[in-house]
Symmetry: C2
C-alpha cells in the first residue's frame, strides 16, 4: 500500500496526523477535503489525491471520518508500535526531547539518557535515569533500543554513532549540526536547526516570493 | 537571480552552506561537483544544476571555489544581514536556541528572552536578559526585532503571535507543536519535532524503501 507513496506525500503525512489529532481532540468526527485543505493550506484536490495515494479513503461528498483516517495514517507512520528510545546528551536539547509530552503519548518511550557531566550522571530526569557514556555498551547489551537521539556536541557525534551501530542500534535521530556518515542499514534523520532558521532568513530576504 | 529558484533547491541551500562551511573550516579551497555530490548524497549533475540555478557559478572541470560559493549562497540565504532575535519561553528549547553557538556566529543575535516563571524573570541566560512576558510590548517599542522564536507551550502560542504582530514583528520561528494562524504579511517557519521523529518511524516501518 505505501509502496507508491512519494517523498512529498511522506513529508506531508505527519502534518495530516497532527491536524487530525487536533480535530479529534476538538470533538470533530468528520471533515471534508475542503475544510481539511483550508486548515493545512492545501487544495481540496491535493488532499483527495494524497489520501487516495495512501490507501483509498476517498469519500467525496461525505467527508473523511477523522478517527479512522488518523488511525490509518498512524499505522502508516509506524506509530502503532512502541519505540524504545535513549538520548545521548543531557543538555538543553536532550532534556527538551526527554520532556516533550507528545513523544511518550505517541509511543516513543525514553528509557535512559547518557552524559559525561558529573552533576548529571546518576541523577534522574523525571523518571528517566541518566547514566555515564561509558555504560552505553553495557546498557545496550541488556536493553533493546529502537532509536537513539544524538543531542551531544558535533565533535562526539560520529564516534557515538559508531558505538551505537556496533551495539545494534539501527535508527538515529540526530540534533548535532553535521551530516553523519553511517552504514547503509542504519537510518539517520537529522534535525538541522540552522537549516530551518536559514529558510526563515531566506524568506525574509525574498519576502515578495513568500506564501 | 533567486526568482527562479525552486522550492526543492531552496530546501537544499542550507545544506550547501553547511557543507561549504565545513570544507572551508577544513582548509579546502576548491571542490568538484563530483566530490561535493558524494558529501551531500547528490549526483554531480544535480549539484551543477542547483549551482547554475542560483547564479551560474558553473566551472565544470575546474571545481568550485569554496569560499566564493559559500559567500554567494550566504547572500542568497540573507546571512549578510544581522538579525535581531528574541526568544519567547526560557524553558529547555528556548535555552537550547539561546546557547546554540552557530546562530550568533551567523548573525542571529538574541537580544532578550521572555518568560513568566518567577525564578527565571530578572536573571540572565549567559549575556541575554530574561524579562517578564508582560514587558514584551514595552521592549518591542524600544528595540527593533527581526525574528521572534516561539518556544512556549502550545496553548500560549497563538495569542503571543498576535501580540508580536501587533508590535511589528513579522517573522516567527515556531517550536510550539501546532500550526499557527497568521496574517499574510507575517512569515512563520515551523520546527515540528514530532514530524521529524515520525519521518524516522515511517522509515523504520518501511525500511526496505529507505535510502
Amino acid at each position: 500500500m505505501a509502496g507508491h507513496v512519494s517523498d512529498a506525500v511522506i513529508r506531508r503525512l505527519p502534518g495530516y496526523y497532527r491536524h487530525l489529532r487536533e480535530l479529534e481532540a476538538a470533538g470533530v468526527t468528520s471533515i471534508s477535503s475542503q475544510e481539511l485543505g483550508e486548515r493545512m493550506h492545501l487544495t481540496p484536490s491535493q488532499i483527495r489525491q494524497d489520501i487516495n495515494c495512501f490507501g483509498g479513503f476517498g469519500r467525496q461528498g461525505y467527508g473523511y471520518k477523522v478517527s479512522e483516517l488518523k488511525g490509518h495514517i498512524g499505522e502508516i507512520l509506524g506509530l502503532t508500535k512502541e519505540h524504545q528510545v535513549i538520548i545521548l546528551g543531557a543538555g538543553n536539547i536532550g532534556c527538551a526531547v526527554a520532556r516533550y509530552p507528545t513523544f511518550s503519548r505517541e509511543g516513543f518511550k525514553t528509557i535512559a539518557m547518557f552524559d559525561v557531566t558529573e552533576d548529571k550522571v546518576g541523577t534522574r530526569m523525571g523518571d528517566i535515569p541518566v547514566y555515564h557514556m561509558d555504560e552505553l555498551e553495557k546498557f545496550l547489551a541488556a536493553h533493546p533500543v529502537d532509536i537513539a537521539v544524538l543531542a551531544l556536541p558535533k565533535r562526539y557525534a560520529q564516534d557515538t554513532l559508531q558505538r551505537l551501530y556496533d551495539s545494534g542500534v539501527r535508527a538515529i535521530w540526530n540534533f548535532a549540526p553535521t551530516d553523519l556518515q553511517h552504514p547503509d542499514d542504519m537510518l539517520v534523520v537529522n534535525v538541522h536547526l540552522m537549516d530551518s532558521l536559514q529558510q526563515l532568513s531566506y524568506r525574509m530576504a525574498h519576502r515578495e516570493n513568500a506564501e
